[in-house]
Amino acid sequence: MKKIMTVCLAGLAVLMLTACGGEKGKNLIVTEEEEEKIVNLFSPMEKTKPDADNVARSASDKTIIMAEEKCGVSVGYITYTAEDYQDKTYDEVALDRARNNMDDIYLLNPDVIQALGEEGKLADLSGLSCVENLRDVVKIANTVDGKLVGIPQEVVAYGLFVNKDMFDQYQLELPETPEEFLECCKVFKENGIETPVGANRWWLETFVFAQAFADLYNGGNTEAEIAALNSGESKYSDYMRKGFDFLQELIDCGYVDAKKALVSEAIDGEGEDFLAQKTPIVMAYWGAANTETAYGATDFNMQVIGFPSSQGQMPVVSMTGFGVGADAEHREDAMRVMEVVLSDEALQVYTETNKVISPSKNVEVDCVPALKPLNDRIEENVYVLGSNASMKMEQWGNTCLVVRKLLGGATVEECMEEFDKLQEEALKK
């Protein structure tokens, strides 16, 4: 009892002393800290859902926070998302902003990286120490005129997201070749599924890449074939034709709703039907399988496989990378931020959070079960690149645009002519 009393009295005394003490200076305003260093980051923002975390965004945020702590800077987020197809695209806005030095760091699609790289609007990142950890394919795909102008935080692999339950329901094997794919679509269509393939205006090109470059990247003669394309000896149209023929057939058979696709944003347009199991097949990037805001939590058995090609299921690999404005206002700070966010430590965090393929040779993380078929192919080094800066003609953006023409009603022949034109323009540069 005495002890308790003693403790109580001691506590009281401490409280009183605390209450009485702590007098401060007369000036009530706390001296402000020195001005914050700001680095502006321009990146897309997907339409958010209430009470759902965007895993991809969280992963990126974690690395940004890491950079802020290490570099003593504050990263300001600037975003843009097109409201609809009539709006300027993110890529267009990114180009505008980069050209006008609006921001310091940009998250860019491969075609934009190539375009801005060629314009000299992006700084050379090859001096960053993290570069030596990067996989060769990453460096090759992002090097323009000998400058490494973009570095991704993830190697984005595109694949077909299929509703395995529906395939099982109609006793269909997952397709390996374009023919098998068409057969599957036919069966689905016969069974009352109006549009077996959900599509948007961005990602139908992946079908084309898979068929066009399956042999180029997996035939053992890659460099020579690219050299032939860069010199004009070979024509892109020759590579692209079969893919476009295939898309044409999908459109003609009604397996793809071309009109809808042309005005649909990625995931926004087709995602709803896929999740509602009205559409058995869509195409998306690797991270969509991990993200609740995309296809991370389906009610059915979802699997991600490669696109049909002569070489079997073919993943299409592309890289959405960070670029730093060559004339950015806070270029030095931006470079320091890049050094951190692309370090192995940051990439490990990013990769673990996002469960993606890391651009660093040193970082490996298990993928979610749905991605296993796709991952297996990549592990086997079987994939095609959706963008390759070493090719003089930019493909990712250009092909997308040409596919849109096809969706808009152009013939395959007209599309091929467009490719020839584009190749010609590119070779002139």
Binding site: I38, M45, K47, T48, K49, P50, D51, N54, R57, D61, G76, Y77, T79, Y80, T81, E83, D87, K88, E92, V93, A94, L95, D96, R97, A98, N100, M102
Partner: protein
Amino acid sequence: MVRRMKKQKRSRKESGISLLLSIILVFCVLGAAVFSVSQKISKEMSASAIQNLSESLDLIEATIEAILKNEADFQKLIAEELAMTDDLEGDICFYEKSKAMVKISVILTGKTEGISSTGEKFSEEGLDFSAGKTVDGLPVTKSYVNYMGTWAYTMKCPIAKKDGKELGTLYIEYVYDSLDRSLPDGFYNKKASLYVMDAESERFVLKPKGMGERSAGHLNLEDFYRANAVSDQELQKDVSKCLENKQNMLFYHDIRGKSSLNYMWSVNDGMIYLVGYVPIEAIQQEGKTVTQNILIVVVAMLVAFFLCCVLYYLSQRQQNKIRKEQELEREIHNKQLAEALQAAQLANNSKTMFLSNMSHDIRTPMNAVLGFATLLDVDAENPVKVREYTKKIMASGKHLLSLINDILDVSKIESGKVVLNIEKFTLSDLVASVDAIIRPMTREREQNFYVEITEMQYEYFMGDETRLNQILINLLSNASKYTQPGGNIWFRILGQKQHSAQYGYVRIEVEDNGYGMTPEYLETIFDAFTRAENSTTNKVQGTGLGMAITKNIVELMGGTIEVFSEVDQGTLFQVDLELRIPEEQMDQEFWKENGIDHILVIDSQKEVCKNIQILMKDTNVVVDTVCSSEKAIEMLQEHSFLEKGCQMILLDSSMPGLEGRKGVEKIREILPAIPILFLSAYDTQGVEEALCLEHTGILAKPFFLSALKQKIMEMQEGKDTEWDVEETKDTNLEGMHFLGVEDNEVNAEILEAVLSIEGATCEIAENGQVAVERFEKSKKGEFDAILMDVQMPVMNGYEATRKIRALEREDAKNIPIIAMTANAFVEDEKEALDAGMNVHLSKPIDIDRLKKVIKEYTQGKEEI
């Protein structure tokens, strides 16, 4: 009592309920007070939050409006400046873009295409002035993403001469980013979110840095609704209405699980809106602290209250516990009292019953005494009848005496006054004395009495022989009493395995095949003052105290007594005693001195043989046993046996083939003159002839070593070999003169009469004092002995004896003084002997015993 307790319990329960109700009431009042206070505070805080936010938003609104107005003013100034120049399109090129004004263009009046400050061609295409919004009178476009990839708006201003002649129109593109620079860095500690929305397109055109969570970006109002789960259609309608009416709006809505105040704040007459939310906790930070403090106070009060309740409860519980313990104690006490009362009543009843029985039992022989005395008086002349009557009077008197002895014994044992007189004794004497008393009794009742001694290693023990005798007589006389004529009674002494070397473990069994007892009686057999059957109906006479006395004595000796019985089957009493073994137990020298080292036992009963072997174990004497006459003869003829040399044969008196004289002769053909000792169970029947021969004797079975030794000595001394224990010699007191000290005249008269019958004379002294004086005056040898009563007036017997012994006379030390008293206990005897008396005889006087004792002591005196 029970009702009172129930009442108490009920009242306690009621008080508990009322206490609980009071506590609940106090809580309700406290809760209501806290609730109303918190409600009031909440309302006030809510109003304060709205006011606080409104003021902040007003400030931002005013800032943005000021910027817009400045822009408009500046644009007007430029227009005025340009109006003064002749070459509008040429002069425009001199204007450079700034951070706010990113594009300055001019279109000359009447043309659709003009020129920008950058030199590019410019047209109104893509600029939407249709909404009719203005800033300070200048038309403003709908917001759009400009060539820089950022949200912008364009204001147009006519370029007119002072005379009113319009030269062209000045278009200046402004970016929303410029507003950011003029807005405060952070809003409600960066917890609030703020967007700038173009009212016309409902597009979010600016998210100022430092405003709200950086990861949250919204496209447009619809995206804002979706992202923040604003699904209430009514609310959305209200928002639309506000936008239409260019009004401000504040509403509560939870954003990511946090209660937030949402706002739509019109700027520049609804051209743009400030849209966003502030978590309530961010606005009411100090309010929150106040609430927390109130809560802490309330919680502290509640804790204190609970603590009080707990303390009260604990003290109540403690009190209840004490009360219960007291009640329990009282109950136990009451129970004990009730039990004691019951026991007292029972004891009282038992005693009443006992007294009634005693009264009856005393009256019966007394009646016989008085009745026969009357008859004696009548038939005094008829010697036959006189003898018959006196015999009956004697019998009744003896019975009365036994009754009185038992009563006294019980009373002494119960009062704890019994002290054991521990002395060395021999089992053989004990058995012999018991046998001497019981055997005639059983013979009289035509019962068979068997004595068996098994595996007894020791003969001498330390103990109270008298009390042991009492136990055995009690048990055996009971067995005899409760066994029908022709029945069997067994008296066994069994040696048991010793628990320690100093103590012999002896089991005494008394078994009969008589009437047996009912289980109910067995339960109370050892209780004092209780009897199995009312003596009125019991054909067997007895005090009913024997067993109680027996048990008490056994327990006093540290032993146990058990009884097993079945009606009409018989009864077995088992007494277990541990008796100390005296140190000088064995006299091994005896056998050596007498040259005995080998004995042959010929007995048909193996057990007898075995017992003798056990008995002789420590004597260093080899004991061979043989169970049949043939084998015995064979053995006797064996060379090896003869070599060993046998000094004595113990022969079963009823050994088939070796009976009596023939047997002796048969044996002596082989071993001439060998001493032969017959072992007999009862008497000399069949061996009388043989006993006439030399070196023969008879020993009662079972026997102890002392008896055997005695017999051997007798045989060696050539004494008579008589079966019976020495008969009482015919003694008389002829010519002897005694001093009788007796205060009771009747007793004195009886003493004189009895002695005169024996031919002796007696002088009576009426008390001790007189006796001392008389002896003092007497001549030497005048009195042969003094017969001294103990309880007497003036001087009692003990004191008188001490005084006599203290007299300075030669014969004072050795004159036999015999105590003759009604104080019949062992302690009395001890006291008598301590006082200097020679022997103690209890009244009534047994004339034979008196004679024997007188003779014993007077002879001794003579020898001296």
